[in-house]
């Protein structure tokens, strides 16, 4: 890590980013408006990377900004306010990159600069048709064969699966070990023969993820990331990086919905008719929901700065955020009145919202985690 004193103060970083967003960022806005298409995301990331803004949290030695969580969250708010879409290579930057830094060989780490520039777009081959919440029960096999692994199996719900050039794959390398102990992490190119991908259309009609089939896919042994059979630990170790992610999401939610809820209060539905008083109260409750997510995030941020290790309380923020996203979308659609029949932005936001309580841990899995790890309630007995 570089000298702390040499780094600019938080306000300076934000100001610097604002300047960037007023310059090259303005061109991007002119070009893409509020588009979240993959092309827009690519263009934004390339421009951000050129200015050194693609990886706020990565250490400077890897081409990042080396920012702490608070600055990252502050910068994230600026980016959201400037209509910057999610990075095209968001999984590479947020998840795969940190894993490569922690566990990668020199050869694997050569991917890092390419992840920043979008030359490499990474997806994560984690979920399977039979392994969703119970990810560790995954059955895609990687069998050692000479200097290679031969991979057979299927992944699903793979975000950016259609666009990705590379994949961080979790596959079973030891079928006889306990399920968490027989999994390895592999870095593979998506153009390797034997990989077939098909888009999955989401309920909004958009194509957001893919299913990926592996048939006798042969990759070199050097694809292994971290120790053999320790793929679970590799992925878990990088989850700490999600702390900034979830705090940032919570901050953005609070920041963005306040204006939307204020706007909803101005609609006819909220002003007239028998539903108006109840709707207004619901809108106020949504403000509370969003504010709670933001405040829980702030509190986690303060904990972080005091040097407390990432705790299971993070899970609480994710729960609060997911609930807020879902309820806010439903209430805003309610406030749209008869316009709710239209396939407009409120309806699309409502249709997208369930992702917040499914992706990255379902509400039910998270509640179990909170119950056991935060409240100390006894575990569910293992099936015999």
């Amino acid at each position: 890590m570089t000298d702390v004193a040499a780094r600019p103060a938080p306000a300076d970083v934000v100001q610097e980013l604002r300047n960037f967003l007023a310059g090259p960022g303005a061109d991007l806005r002119a070009r893409w408006g509020r588009s979240t298409s993959f092309e827009a995301r690519l263009d934004w990331q390339r421009t951000l990377a050129a200015g050194g803004w693609a990886a706020l949290g990565w250490p400077e030695e890897f081409g990042g900004r080396g920012l702490g969580v608070r600055d990252r969250v502050a910068c994230g708010l600026e980016l959201a306010a400037a209509w910057a879409p999610v990075l095209a290579g968001v999984l590479g930057v947020n998840n795969v990159g940190p894993a490569l830094m922690a566990f990668g060989t020199e050869e694997q780490q050569a991917s890092l600069p390419k992840i920043l520039t979008t030359e490499e777009i990474w997806c994560q081959g984690f979920s399977e048709p039979g392994a969703g919440s119970d990810l560790a029960s995954l059955r895609t096999r990687a069998v050692a064969d000479g200097d290679d692994f031969v991979i057979n199996g299927q992944k699903i719900w793979t975000s950016e699966g259609m666009e990705a050039t590379h994949c961080l794959l979790l596959a079973r390398t030891d079928p006889d070990a306990p399920k968490h102990r027989g999994i390895s992490a592999l870095t593979i190119r998506m153009d390797t023969p034997g990989i077939e991908r098909r888009p999955i259309r989401m309920i909004t009609g958009e194509s957001g993820f893919a299913e990926v089939f592996f048939t006798d896919v042969r990759v070199p042994r050097s694809s292994l990331l971290g120790p053999l059979h320790r793929g679970w630990d590799v992925t878990m170790a990088t989850l700490a990086h999600e702390r900034a992610g979830v705090i940032g999401l919570a901050a953005e939610l609070e920041h963005n919905v306040t204006a939307e809820l204020s706007g909803a209060l101005g609609t006819t539905t909220a002003a007239e008719g028998p539903q108006a008083p109840l709707l207004r109260q619901e809108i106020a409750r949504r403000y509370a929901d969003a504010r709670i997510a933001g405040l829980l995030g702030l509190r986690a941020l303060a904990d972080e700065e005091r040097g407390a290790p990432p705790g299971p309380e993070q899970t609480l923020i994710k729960l609060a955020w997911g609930r807020a996203v879902e309820r806010v979308a439903a209430t805003l659609l309610e406030a749209a009145g008869p316009d709710a029949q239209r396939a407009g932005s409120a309806a699309m936001a409502y249709l997208r919202a369930p992702a917040a309580t499914i992706a990255g841990g379902t509400t039910e899995v998270l509640k179990t985690l909170v119950g056991e790890r935060v409240l100390g309630l006894p575990r569910e007995p293992r099936p015999v």
Partner: protein
């Protein structure tokens, strides 16, 4: 910042230890069996000097803030402390805001416990600060007040009343000493940890505290302070319900398993934690906003905190009782005391629905104002998009 935090952690511990010392469940049952009021505990709370924080906070002076006071009230709620702390702060706030030296002196007597006082505001079907049924008249400069207010928290046994009464020129606050012209009749209360009285005034001699033009501002600020602190207290009460439920779920065995291992119970507890932490965050934010001095922001934050914490305390109290099964339904168990206090508090200083309505009004006029212009145009899409972009696989 961090030293403040450490001080607040210490303050919370001090208060919690004191309350545990003198206010354990055994003692609570004694108090409930008696008159719903714990004089010994109240003296100890006063000796601690914590309510004097209210004056420092109100005067924006060193040595106390609403953020400190919120910590104290959270502990009072968690302990179900049968003491008139919120009433005392409410009275002291009205007195102190009224601005006369005599009132400020009386405020000091109230927070130190030398004088016991209650605040007489009209409940008016739950709308606090609505039209008052009390009427004040001046004869040769001597004021008297007439009228009855049915439900006044902590009224039995007080030395002084601070009342809101109408005059020819509008409503004003008055101080009314108890005496022959004042009748306070105890009213059986749902909440067994607070006392309730009906207050009847018959030409009761009174001293004016505020002029009509100041009254609304004093009342509004006092209601915000009380809403914020009661939110902290309710968050503490909800915490008590959660802790009690979790403790029981760990030891109660049915079907050969502790009931806390069943997801139905575990998830209910997790939901309670989410509500409790949310209420606490909002209450702390309200206290910070009260300290910061922008009245619009403070009112919004206090309203949000009170609306959410009021509903949370009731929800958690009901779940806690339910989770205890038959034992939670008994007079001896503490569960019903939590339910009673939560339900009763939910209508003090405004019901949740009133607070939500007030919050909506403030949101509609754009009071929160934190969002810069560019952000105001941005929608939630990036956040939702990111969720789609960051699933497990």
């Amino acid at each position: 910042m961090s030293s403040d935090l450490q001080e607040r952690v210490d303050l919370a511990r001090t208060v919690a230890e004191l309350l545990a010392d003198l206010g354990g469940e055994e003692r609570l049952r004694e108090v409930v069996a008696g008159d719903g009021w714990d004089e010994a505990l109240w003296r100890r709370v006063l000796d601690l000097g914590v309510l004097e924080l209210a004056l420092a906070a109100n005067r924006d002076a060193d040595g106390g803030s609403y953020a400190d006071l919120a910590v104290v009230f959270a502990e009072l709620g968690r302990a179900l402390a049968p003491v008139p702390a919120l009433t005392t702060v409410a009275v002291a706030t009205v007195l102190d805001l009224s601005g006369t030296p005599a009132a400020a002196e009386l405020a000091e007597d109230v927070v130190s416990g030398r004088v016991r006082a209650a605040l007489v505001l009209p409940g008016d079907g739950g709308t606090w600060g609505g039209r008052t049924p009390l009427r004040a008249r001046s004869t040769n400069g001597a004021w008297t007040v007439d009228g009855t207010v049915e439900l006044v928290t902590d009224a039995p046994g007080v030395d002084q009343l601070v009342v809101l009464a109408d005059t020819d020129d509008g409503a004003c606050f008055f101080v009314v000493p108890t005496g022959p012209a004042v009748t306070i009749t105890p009213v059986p209360a749902l909440d067994l940890t607070r006392t309730l009285g009906s207050v009847a005034l018959t030409a009761a001699p009174a001293t004016p505290l505020t002029t009509p033009d100041r009254t609304d501002a004093v009342l509004a600020r006092t209601l915000d302070v009380c809403a914020g602190l009661l939110a902290a207290e309710s968050a503490g009460l909800a915490r008590r319900a959660l802790d009690s439920a979790v403790d029981y779920a760990k030891i109660r065995v049915q079907f050969d398993r502790p009931i806390g291992s069943f997801q139905a119970v575990k998830h209910s507890c997790a939901e309670m934690l989410l509500m409790v932490e949310g209420a606490r965050c909002l209450a702390d934010a309200a206290a910070d906003a009260l300290d910061e001095g922008d009245p619009g922001a403070a009112s919004l934050a206090a309203g949000v905190a009170r609306g959410y914490a009021g509903e949370t305390a009731v929800e958690c109290a009901e779940r806690c009782l339910h989770l205890h099964g038959g034992i939670g339904f008994t007079w001896e168990h503490v569960s019903h005391l939590v339910v009673r206090r939560a339900k009763s508090d939910a209508v003090r200083f405004g019901r949740p629905a009133e607070h939500w309505d007030r919050v909506a009004r403030r949101l509609a006029t754009g009071t929160p104002g934190a969002a810069p212009a560019v952000a105001a145009a941005a929608v939630a899409d990036p956040a939702v998009e990111a969720a789609v972009g960051a699933p497990v696989g």
